[in-house]
C-alpha cells in the first residue's frame, strides 16, 4: 500500500518533471526540473533496493553532470534567445506523434503480455542469475548492496570497468582540448 502510494506519486512527479524539462522556456528552468527529476529517480532506485546506484545517481548525475549543464547554459545563453530560428524542413511534430504512437504500441505490448498471467515474473524466470543478491547478514558493518556491487564490478565486470575508466580519461582529455581556446 505504502509502496503503491510512493510509486504513483513518484511516477507522476517524474513524468511531469520530464515534460517540464522538455517544455520549459528557460534552459535554466529545464536544468532545475532535470535535477529534481534525477533526485526523484534516485528515490525510485532506493525503493528498488539499489542504494548504491541511488547515491551514485545523486552524486554523479545530480551533483556533477547537471551542474555541468548549468554551467554551459549560463555560459551560452546570455546574449540572444537560443531557439529563434526554425528550419522549415523540421519534422518535429510528426516525430512527436510518432513517438506517441510508439509509446502506445509499447504500452499495448506490455499490458497485453501481462494481461492473463501472473503480474510478475517469478524468480529466475530469465534463467539462472549469475550475480544474485546475497542474503544480507545482521550487524552494523554490513552494507549488502554496495559490497556485492563492488564485488561483481571488480570480478566479473573488471574489464568493462577498466574500459570505462579509459573512456572517462579520453573524455576528460577531449573535453579539455575542446574547451580550451589555445592549447
Amino acid at each position: 500500500m505504502a509502496e503503491a502510494i510512493v510509486f504513483w506519486t513518484l511516477a507522476v512527479l517524474i513524468l511531469g518533471l520530464g515534460i517540464m524539462v522538455i517544455s520549459a522556456r528557460s534552459a535554466v528552468h529545464s536544468v532545475l526540473f532535470l535535477v529534481v527529476n534525477f533526485l526523484l529517480v534516485a528515490v525510485l532506485y532506493v525503493m528498488l533496493n539499489a542504494e548504491f546506484v541511488a547515491v551514485i545517481q545523486v552524486l554523479v548525475y545530480a551533483g556533477g553532470i547537471v551542474v555541468l549543464y548549468l554551467f554551459v547554459v549560463m555560459l551560452v545563453s546570455l546574449k540572444k534567445a537560443p531557439e529563434r530560428y526554425a528550419d522549415p524542413r523540421r519534422v518535429a511534430w510528426t516525430g512527436t506523434l510518432l513517438a506517441g504512437a510508439v509509446l502506445l504500441e509499447v504500452v499495448a505490448i506490455v499490458v497485453a503480455s501481462s494481461g492473463g498471467g501472473e503480474p510478475a515474473a517469478t524468480e529466475g524466470a530469465l534463467g539462472a542469475a549469475d550475480t544474485p543478491f546475497a542474503e544480507c547478514g545482521a550487524g552494523p558493518l554490513v552494507s549488502c548492496n554496495t559490497e556485492q556491487l563492488g564485488w561483481v564490478l571488480y570480478t566479473s565486470y573488471l574489464i568493462p570497468f577498466e574500459v570505462a575508466s579509459m573512456l572517462l580519461l579520453v573524455a576528460m582529455i577531449g573535453a579539455i582540448v575542446l574547451a580550451k581556446r589555445h592549447l
Binding site: V28, H29, L32, V35, V55, L59, L141, C144
Partner: protein, 332 residues
C-alpha cells in the same frame, strides 16, 4: 507506526531545532572569537557578554524587508536559498550522536556516500542564487563558488575513499565502531587524509582562506549580494550548518565520533563517564573553533591559487594517499 513514523519525526524535529539554535550561537561564537583574536570585546550590549545577540540577530533578519530584484527570475530567486539549506540539514539525518539508535535518525549502509552526495547538491543553491539575481557580481561569484566546490569535492571524496578502504564500511556508525575496535582514532592512522579533508572542508564551506565567493572586497558580498532578510538568513544558516556538517564528518571519520579518547586504555576509562553525545558535540565545537580561528588568522587565497591548490596539490596527494593505503591494506 510509532517506531517508523512518530519517533523519527520527533527526532527530526529536535535535531532541526538543535541545529538552528546551534547556528545562531555559532554566529555569536564567531564574532566573539574573532573579536578576541583582534583584541576587541565583540558584542557586549545584548545580555551579559552579549549572549542574547544570538536571539537578536534572527529577529532582526526576520523583520527586515525581503527584496526581490526587478529583473530577477522570481521562482529561482526564492528556490535558491532553500536548495542551499535543505541539503545541509538533510545530512544530519545520518549523523550518529551516540552508539545507540536512539542517538541517530537512521544508519544507512551507504551513509558516507549519502553525506557526500547530498553535500554536492548544495552547490545548486549558490549557483542558482547567483544566476537568479540577474546581477553581474553574484553571477561571477556563483560560478566561482560552484567551480570551487566541485573541484574540492573530488579531493575530499578521493580522500574519504582511502578512509573507507581502512574501515571496510560506508556506514558512519560502522566507521566509529571500527575506530573503537581498532582502539585508535583514524587521525593517527590517516593523518594525511585528515589534513586533506579538513582543507577540503574549509573550501567546501567557502570559509576563509577560501572564501572567495563571498569576498566582500572584490565581489561586494558574493552570490548573495542581492539577497536580504529571511532569504539571506537561509544562506547564512546553510553556511554555518555546513560548517557543523563538515566538523561532524571530520570528527566521525578521524576523531572517533562519540568515543572518549583512547577508549581501550583502562586507565582512561573514567572518561567514559561523560555521555557519548557530549563527547561528540564537544569535538564538533572544537573544530568549529578551529574554523573560526583559521578565519581570524589566515589571509585569503587568490582564485588561480585556489584552483591550483585544489587540482595540482590536493588531488595528487589524495590519489597518492589512496594508492599507499591500498598497498598497505593488501600488504598488511
Amino acid at each position: 507506526m510509532m517506531d517508523t513514523v512518530v519517533v523519527p519525526l520527533l527526532k527530526i524535529a529536535v535535531l532541526l531545532n538543535a541545529v538552528l539554535v546551534a547556528v545562531t550561537f555559532l554566529v555569536l561564537m564567531e564574532r566573539k572569537v574573532i573579536a578576541w583574536a583582534q583584541s576587541r570585546l565583540g558584542p557586549m550590549r545584548v545580555g551579559p557578554y552579549g549572549i542574547l545577540q544570538a536571539i537578536a540577530d534572527p529577529i532582526k533578519l526576520i523583520l527586515k524587508e525581503d527584496i526581490t530584484p526587478a529583473r530577477a527570475d522570481k521562482y529561482v530567486f526564492t528556490l535558491a536559498p532553500i536548495m542551499s539549506l535543505v541539503p545541509a540539514l538533510v545530512v544530519f539525518s545520518v549523523v550518529p550522536f551516540g552508539p545507540d539508535p536512539f542517538y541517530y535518525v537512521s544508519d544507512i549502509n551507504v551513509g558516507l556516500l549519502f553525506v557526500i552526495s547530498v553535500t554536492s547538491i548544495g552547490v545548486y543553491g549558490i549557483i542558482l542564487g547567483g544566476w537568479a539575481s540577474n546581477s553581474k557580481y553574484p553571477l561571477l561569484a556563483s560560478l566561482r563558488a560552484s567551480a570551487q566546490l566541485i573541484s574540492y569535492e573530488i579531493a575530499v571524496t578521493m580522500t574519504l575513499v582511502s578512509v573507507i578502504l581502512t574501515t571496510g564500511t560506508l556506514s558512519l556508525v560502522g566507521i566509529v565502531e571500527a575506530q573503537r575496535e581498532g582502539g585508535l582514532w583514524f587521525a593517527f592512522v590517516q593523518p594525511v587524509a585528515l589534513m586533506l579533508v579538513f582543507i577540503g572542508g574549509l573550501a567546501e564551506t567557502n570559509r576563509a582562506p577560501f572564501d572567495l565567493p563571498e569576498a566582500e572586497t572584490e565581489l561586494t558580498g558574493g552570490f548573495h549580494t542581492e539577497y536580504s532578510g529571511m532569504r539571506f538568513s537561509l544562506f547564512f544558516l546553510a553556511e554555518y550548518a555546513n560548517m557543523i556538517v563538515i566538523s561532524a564528518v571530520v570528527v566521525i571519520m578521524f576523531f572517533g565520533g562519540w568515543l572518549a579518547p583512547f577508549p581501550n586504555v583502562p586507565a582512561l576509562s573514567f572518561l567514559g563517564l561523560v555521555p557519548a553525545w557530549i563527547w561528540f558535540i564537544g569535538k564538533i565545537f572544537l573544530f568549529l573553533y578551529v574554523f573560526i580561528w583559521i578565519r581570524a588568522t589566515l589571509p585569503r587565497y587568490r582564485y588561480d591559487q585556489l584552483m591550483g591548490l585544489g587540482w595540482k596539490v590536493l588531488i595528487p596527494i589524495a590519489i597518492g594517499n589512496l594508492v599507499v593505503t591500498g598497498i598497505l591494506k593488501v600488504a598488511l
